[in-house]
């Protein structure tokens, strides 16, 4: 679908690449154009860029080959202070995150800033309650312009940027929405289209400073190799997302019908369970899925660390795990399951709609086990019905394999996204930085996500529990909401404790089950030293690996299907070689070389 390769995915924000097309390639064409231009402009895009500057703000350990910006992070101090804390907020014990604070408007209420952002169904930014809230609290007047979400908006964003007709700021959301990758921020920043914000952040962004203090690695991960930050970040820490790449569900009634009162503890038992399910109900597909999620999660985990985004660190080397020798055994198991009719071969070709017709079959789910990140991919989620089909699926615990405990690739990150970038057209960037910083506070974050306080949400009362089972911080007030919230396109701070502070129950939220599933999987998380966190790529690297990676993903999807569906035999050495060849031909070595290069530069 997207011939254009994605301009990378830095900062580990893509837990499960899967073989399919990537929606994050939205602004890719411009990224590539930039790469070319940067090269023409004379070595601006230098490979092996180093990540300068330290998180503690002692600043700029200048790298040898990337010209550094003049300003050294941390060399100014705050000119504005955080407002006093509001009393009576039920922070749970050990709460780390933004606090609810008093605030005074700082804008003059006259000057109008233009911000380019995204459309959303039912969203009218001029009348939106959150837009009005922000204007009231900050005194900053904003005229919003919009482009559609995703790849749809890319031509327009490119036209706006290339025409020089820049708004004051861009608020285009996380990468899945088509927002900027870090490599793009860097490229546009170097061209002078986006302003470096470091000094303003040091002087006018107390909320962000607090966030940096709480997450010492965050500033470094947002600092481009030239030592500058070209955007205000948004934080969306999601505990259960760390394992959503491998999460697997089992249909409890089918499990019980097969005579199993407990979940399988080993791979052998798992296979036996599938067999028993098939024996108990010949109509049942013991395991199925859709093409975006290859069924290698838990089975893969019993043989090897499949890595985050299929990448793993082995000492100094970075490994593309589908080429790992141990993956043969995964294929051997999966191929056996397919051969014995335990794994639905359509799982490699059907889409999620087609798959959900099986789980939503009026006569009962026709699928026993499925891998998917959350319940929405498994069955139709209907909160109104306490006996709804989706509730019959429970998380399947990881099981051990021949080598002992499974290894779950644990993708822990800040869920960072670009919140706001200030363009060169803005004459008063300080005000916009303050405006963005204000939004990183607790109250604006909750207002952005849930609506008005005491109308759509309120502080939790005694006894209410949050997603993680600790006392809750806030609770939603049920009711219709029209045009009161924003999609996640701006700056906000949904740190772990904020996210988990929501009072929920299993009847009306998927979160508690996901949290418990996360706990279950975290037990087997992979060691930190084997986690490869993508470094800050420059535009040239980004374009190169984007293209290479897109090809590799396609080859992986094809090769995996051949292996699993019996066209190739994973136990046969010649077949394994012919599986590996296309990867080599597509440049897997060059791909890993670029990754290693950028990674070394960071160290």
């Amino acid at each position: 679908m997207s011939p254009v390769p994605p301009t990378t995915s830095p900062a580990a924000s893509v837990p499960d690449p899967g073989p399919g097309p990537s929606p994050s390639s939205a602004a890719a064409p411009s990224g590539r154009t930039m790469a070319r231009r940067a090269l023409l402009a004379g070595g601006l895009a230098i490979p092996a860029a180093a990540l300068a500057a330290c998180s503690d703000g002692s600043g700029g350990s200048t790298s040898a080959d990337v010209p550094q910006v003049d300003y050294v992070q941390g060399s100014s101090s705050l000119k504005v202070e955080l407002g006093p804390e509001i009393d009576g907020v039920p922070y749970p014990e050990g709460y780390i995150g933004p606090k609810a604070r008093e605030s005074e408007p700082f804008g003059d209420g006259q000057t109008e800033f233009t911000i380019l952002t995204r459309t959303d169904t039912g969203l009218d930014l001029a009348e939106n309650a959150h837009s009005l809230y922000l204007e009231e609290r900050t005194g900053v007047r904003i005229a919003y312009q919009t482009v559609p979400q995703g790849e749809e908006g890319a031509p327009k964003v490119n036209a706006v940027i290339s025409s020089g007709d820049l708004p004051d700021a861009l608020m285009l959301g996380p990468e899945w929405m088509g927002g900027f990758t870090k490599a793009q921020l860097y490229a546009y920043g170097q061209q002078g289209l986006f302003q470096p914000l470091d000094q303003l952040i040091d002087e006018y962004a107390p909320q962000l400073q607090e966030l940096f203090a709480q997450n010492p690695d965050l500033r470094a991960s947002w600092t481009a190799p030239d030592g500058a930050m070209y955007g205000m970040p948004a934080v969306n820490q999601c505990y259960h997302c760390a394992s959503s790449g491998v999460r697997t569900w089992v249909h409890q009634p089918s499990l019980e019908a097969a005579g199993w009162s407990e979940q399988p503890a080993t791979l052998e038992e798992f296979e036996q369970m599938l067999r028993d399910m098939k024996a108990a109900n010949p109509e049942l597909l013991p395991m199925s899925g859709d093409k975006t999620v290859p069924p290698f999660g838990l089975i893969g985990a019993t043989f090897l660390d499949t890595g985050i985004n299929w990448l793993r660190r082995d000492g100094d080397a970075i490994v593309y795990t589908p080429m790992d020798e141990a993956f043969r055994e995964v294929y051997a198991v999966v191929a056996r399951l397919v051969r014995d009719g335990l794994l639905d071969p359509n799982a490699f070709t059907q889409d999620n709609d087609q798959f959900q017709r099986l789980t939503m079959d009026p006569a009962g789910s026709r699928v026993g086990v499925v891998q998917n990140g959350n319940q929405f991919g498994v069955a139709e989620v209907d909160y109104a019905d306490p006996a709804a089909r989706w509730r019959e699926f429970v998380p399947l615990a990881p099981f051990s394999g021949p080598g002992g405990d499974p290894i779950i690739p644990w993708n822990e990150n800040h869920g960072e996204a670009t919140g706001l970038v200030v363009t060169s057209a803005c004459e008063d960037p300080a005000t916009l930085v303050r405006w963005a910083d204000f939004q990183l506070g607790l109250l604006p974050t909750l207002e952005m996500r849930l609506g008005r306080q005491d109308q759509h949400w309120q502080w939790a009362s005694e006894g209410q529990l949050g997603i993680d089972g600790r006392p809750a911080l806030y609770t939603k007030i049920p009711g219709e909401k029209e045009n009161v919230t924003w999609p996640e396109f701006g700056p906000y701070n949904l740190g772990m404790d904020v996210r988990h502070g929501e009072n929920v129950d299993e009847l009306t939220s998927v979160e508690p089950v996901l949290y418990q599933a996360g706990k279950m999987y975290e037990t087997y998380r992979n060691p930190l030293e084997s986690v490869f966190i993508p470094p800050f790529f420059d535009a040239a690297q980004s374009a190169e690996i984007g293209e290479l990676r897109a090809n590799l993903d396609g080859i992986f999807a094809q090769g995996a299907a051949h292996m699993c569906l019996g066209d190739l035999d994973p136990t046969d050495d010649a077949d394994w070689q012919s599986y590996l060849e296309p990867f080599t031909a597509a440049g897997v070595e060059r791909y890993l070389e670029v990754l290693t290069e950028a990674d070394r530069a960071r160290a």
Binding site: P23, D124, V147, C241
Partner: protein, 309 residues
């Protein structure tokens, strides 16, 4: 469409078709019926889906006629002010683009059809060139921007007002249907060029005018790209853009949406599921209404115009 049915008028002795003809007829009828089915079925499916309970649609239970009849989807469509506004915008844009485009095309086509136009070949060449080369998106955007048309109704009408292909068809139509002798007669009777064009040419050109109106109308009705590129004010969005945004918002691959709230993803999908079929129907209504009235001109206008084209 022009094929005559093989029915003999009453009272005439029926001559038996040769066997091979009958076989051919059967084969053709079957083929055409299948062909028709591939066109009609998706449409019937969408109509039925828009009137069905969404769960019946997603579970595959609904495949031809509505299951669990409800007008909820249409109700929901009307509840979105953006949709009604988009519909009205689209009507305005199509209406204007239709008139502007047709006026320019008919005048331009007539001028190009006159052998005594100075530099006729040069002009034609200049038009044809644009069919093969274009300035590209960003230069065009800059032109529109510098003309001050960004975020105005004009951006929806002017930049793609004339289709060269239609201009050439129109020119050929004039060349083949308006004989030069007619012009000479009129001149002898004292008519000026303007008068000749207005009183003689136009009344003789109804088919090509109808065809142009329809083609421009439908093209603008279906267009979303100009809106996408030139408009940032949602109040000006045409229906197709509103619709595209709603429908495409559920095409994100959830596995890529990293830390996005699963609730929100689901919400986006639900809205799209609920609205998509009704929205498609509503968007197809105006062209469907227009077609029957123009169809009779279609054959005439297009066929003549495309002769020797």
């Amino acid at each position: 469409m022009t094929a005559q049915p093989a029915v003999s008028p009453p009272g005439v002795r029926r001559i038996k078709d040769p066997r091979s003809d009958r076989i051919l007829n059967v084969v053709l009828i079957v083929l055409l019926a299948l062909f028709t089915l591939t066109i009609v079925y998706p449409f019937v499916y969408i109509v039925s889906a828009s009137l069905s309970d969404p769960t019946a649609v997603s579970s595959g239970e609904m495949w031809l006629w509505p299951v669990g009849f409800s007008m909820d989807a249409y109700q929901a469509v009307l509840d979105y002010p953006a949709i009604t506004r988009g519909f009205l915008n689209s009507l305005l844009y199509s209406g204007s683009a239709m008139l502007v485009g047709t006026a320019v095309t008919v005048m331009g086509g007539y001028a190009l059809s006159r052998a005594d136009l100075v530099g006729r070949n040069l002009f034609t060449l200049m038009f044809v060139l644009t069919m093969m080369f274009s300035g590209g998106m960003i230069p065009t955007y800059l032109v529109v921007k510098n003309l001050g048309m960004l975020n105005t109704i004009w951006a929806m009408i002017i930049p793609t007002a004339v289709s060269v292909w239609q201009l050439i068809v129109t020119r050929t139509f004039f060349q083949t249907t308006i004989p030069h002798e007619l012009l000479e007669c009129s001149r002898i009777d004292g008519a000026s060029d303007m008068r000749f064009f207005w009183r003689i040419v136009l009344p003789l050109s109804k088919p090509i005018i109808a065809v142009n109106l329809l083609l421009y109308g439908v093209a603008t009705w279906n267009a979303y790209f100009n809106g996408l590129i030139y408009l940032t004010d949602e109040d000006l969005y045409p229906l197709q853009l509103v619709m595209r945004n709603i429908l495409l918002e559920n095409t994100f691959d959830p596995s890529k949406m990293a830390n996005a709230d699963p609730e929100r993803i689901a919400q986006m999908q639900q809205i799209a599921d609920k609205l998509k079929y009704a929205l498609i129907i509503i968007a197809s209504v105006p062209p469907l209404i227009a077609y029957p009235f123009v169809q009779k001109h279609f054959v005439k206008g297009m066929m003549i115009g495309s002769l020797k084209g």
